[in-house]
């Protein structure tokens, strides 16, 4: 009898906790999703309706239109921004992964003088924000003649992506049992074969997480392109959308929101499919130690 009432109180407690949890989550979902919702709504409204002050701005009443998207593709250099961003991002991802996988293999399996210090140093460089070094880098890329070219981003973005990617890969590589490399070494594999045929396939989830990180850094970067690039033909999506689409006295709010949404679409799509890998990678340090 006593046990039963104890069970009941647990059940009613659980019920209340669940109720409260849903309440909080609904509130947070509204808070987190209303800005993108409003951006989408604006991008689909006619200019006339956007300028209307009396109607409810949160709804579309005068019909959907794709004119802002059309405007974006035909009258602005948006597609050039998109192309530049893709070139920069693919290059940065490849460079980041090559540098960090090589270094992580070496730091997790081989030892050399100073390797321990280097591993700690990499973690610290991950904590260096882009806002600390953009001014000296502005001078340095100027000497290299890279100012106002999107290739400058291919040079500087890896400084933001490589430290975390290396750190992540060290963690994944270290969790591979040592017996596996011994077996491979006995079979006569050299380090390159071991890395390509054993480590990379086994640590694939980590590799995917690191790739997504490098992709995100490169796609979302704002300060470096804003500081180093000023021609429209060289701009990437973030800066291009924020600076060139705002020009003039009349704001093209519809076009601006359409641009921001399209520019944000690739990362959102990547995350929708690969979120679990990325979160596992990001939090592996948190839960595994």
């Amino acid at each position: 009898m006593k046990f039963l009432s104890y069970r009941n109180s647990i059940n009613s407690n659980r019920k209340w906790a669940l109720f409260a949890a849903y309440g909080c989550l609904i509130f947070f979902v509204i808070f987190f999703l209303f800005p993108p919702y409003y951006m989408l709504i604006t991008s689909l409204k006619t200019n006339k309706e956007i300028a209307e002050l009396s109607t409810n701005p949160w709804l579309i009443k005068q019909g959907l239109t794709l004119e802002h998207y059309k405007y974006l593709f035909t009258e602005t250099p948006f597609l050039i921004f998109f192309k530049n961003t893709i070139i920069v991002t693919i290059s940065v991802v490849i460079i980041s992964m090559v540098i960090s996988v090589l270094a992580a293999y070496s730091l997790s399996r081989l030892r050399f003088w100073g390797s321990g210090v280097l591993a700690t140093g990499i973690f610290l460089t991950y904590l260096v924000p882009d806002t600390l070094l953009f001014i000296p880098l502005f001078k340095i890329v100027g000497w290299l003649g890279l100012l106002n070219s999107y290739w400058v981003l291919v040079l500087v973005y890896p400084t933001l992506s490589v430290p975390f990617c290396t750190w992540l890969m060290i963690g994944y590589f270290s969790s591979i049992p040592k017996e596996i490399d011994e077996a491979a070494l006995i079979d006569g594999a050299n380090h390159m074969q071991m890395l390509l045929k054993v480590f990379i396939p086994v640590a694939m989830p980590g590799l995917i997480a690191a790739t997504i990180f490098a992709f995100t850094v490169s796609w979302a970067g704002f300060l470096y392109p804003l500081a180093f690039i000023y021609s429209e033909t060289e701009m990437v999506l973030t800066v291009g959308t924020v600076t060139t689409l705002i020009k003039g006295d009349v704001f093209h709010w519809g076009g601006l929101m359409a641009g921001a949404l399209l520019a944000a679409a690739p990362p959102v799509i990547v995350y929708a499919f690969l979120m679990d890998y990325y979160i596992a990678g990001l939090t592996s340090g948190a839960t595994k130690g």
């Binding site: 647990i10 407690n13 906790a17 949890a21 849903y22 909080c24 989550l25 947070f28 987190f32 999703l33 800005p35 993108p36 409003y38 956007i50 002050l53 701005p57 090559v98 960090s100 090589l102 270094a103 070496s106 081989l110 050399f112 390797s115 280097l118 140093g121 990499i122 610290l124 904590l127 924000p129 882009d130 806002t131 600390l132 070094l133 953009f134 001014i135 880098l137 502005f138 340095i140 890896p158 400084t159 490589v162 430290p163 380090h191 300060l223 804003l226 500081a227 800066v239 959308t241 709010w253 921001a260 944000a264 979120m275 979160i279 990001l282 939090t283 948190a286 839960t287 595994k288 130690g289």
Partner: protein
């Protein structure tokens, strides 16, 4: 024969190890360490970069009222924003963890959207929400018979808006970290506590929080660094205005160094971030090490 020797030399284990790290070492040396020291050197030059002026740039900043505003605003902004990010992240993670496990992924996915959109672009959406004439937020307030809020044109509200957007962008990161940490707490601890008659709050304060202590502190410290060094949100929303009252170190350094062309002074401004970042990084490193040793 000689080339053969070279291969033998290269094939020794420590050398291979070193060469595999070489691209990383070169990158860090040329594009992180060198720029850092070069930045210190730059900060000691005059505006035309022709003359060594010692600490004159730093002393000049100390006498500027705007600079002290930037210091205050950066610290205030980082502390308030991180506090709310941590709180919202914790409540959201806890709520998701309460749900039946098959519904959790869906809610988590929805709540991560602000974190997935590049901040410069989502801030553009907020900017439009804050727009003085068309502000959709003010439209809602008007329906509730509240006066329109000058979101970005008055200092108090501009600071409020920037913090709000930063919380919006950053809270999901806390959510992810906390959710992972919550999942790693063994379920039997809670069961044992229930049998001993512990209530919800007792479980929270005596099991959940102590088990998550380390993750909470690492995430908060990391977030303070990122928030303190923030650039995108302020740049897109206010560009430091009204009258320089919302500048952070990064946006002020950009204004002075890149837009006004005084590179040495800009370098000096961003160098002021370094002591704060260094101290926080040191503490994070210590925590991470401690955690690694625990496991």
């Amino acid at each position: 024969m000689k080339i053969n020797n070279l291969f033998v030399w290269l094939k020794q284990k420590p050398r291979i190890a070193f060469f595999m790290c070489l691209p990383l070492i070169l990158m860090v040396a040329c594009l992180i360490i060198y720029p850092f020291f070069y930045s210190i050197f730059l900060a000691t030059l005059n505006k035309a970069e022709t003359k060594f002026v010692g600490l004159a740039n730093f002393l000049f900043l100390f006498k500027r009222e705007t600079f002290w505003l930037v210091v205050q605003q950066s610290i205030f902004f980082a502390l308030v924003a991180v506090f709310f990010k941590a709180l919202i992240g914790f409540i959201a993670a806890h709520s998701i963890n309460e749900l039946p496990s098959k519904g959790q992924r869906k809610w988590r996915g929805m709540l991560l959207i602000p974190w997935v959109i590049p901040p410069a672009l989502s801030t553009l959406g907020w900017w439009w929400l804050f727009e003085p004439t068309y502000s959709a937020l003010n439209w809602l307030l008007e329906k509730l018979s509240v006066d329109a809020i000058p979101w970005l044109s008055e200092t108090f509200w501009a600071r409020f808006s920037i913090i709000l957007v930063n919380i919006w962008v950053g809270a999901p990161f806390f959510l992810i970290m906390y959710l992972a940490a919550l999942k790693s707490i063994p379920e039997d601890l809670y069961e044992a506590a229930s049998i001993d008659g512990a209530n919800y709050w007792q479980k929270l304060f005596f099991i959940t929080l102590p088990m998550m202590k380390n993750i909470i502190s690492i995430t908060i410290l990391f977030s303070i660094i990122v928030t303190f060094a923030n650039f995108d949100i302020v740049r897109v929303l206010t560009r430091g205005g009204p009258i320089d009252t919302t500048h952070l170190f990064a946006t002020y350094a950009f204004r002075v160094g890149i837009e006004s062309g005084d590179i040495p002074l800009g370098a000096a401004v961003s160098l002021f971030m370094f002591p704060v970042l260094a101290v926080l990084s040191f503490i994070i490193l210590r925590n991470v090490r401690k955690r690694t040793n625990e496991v």
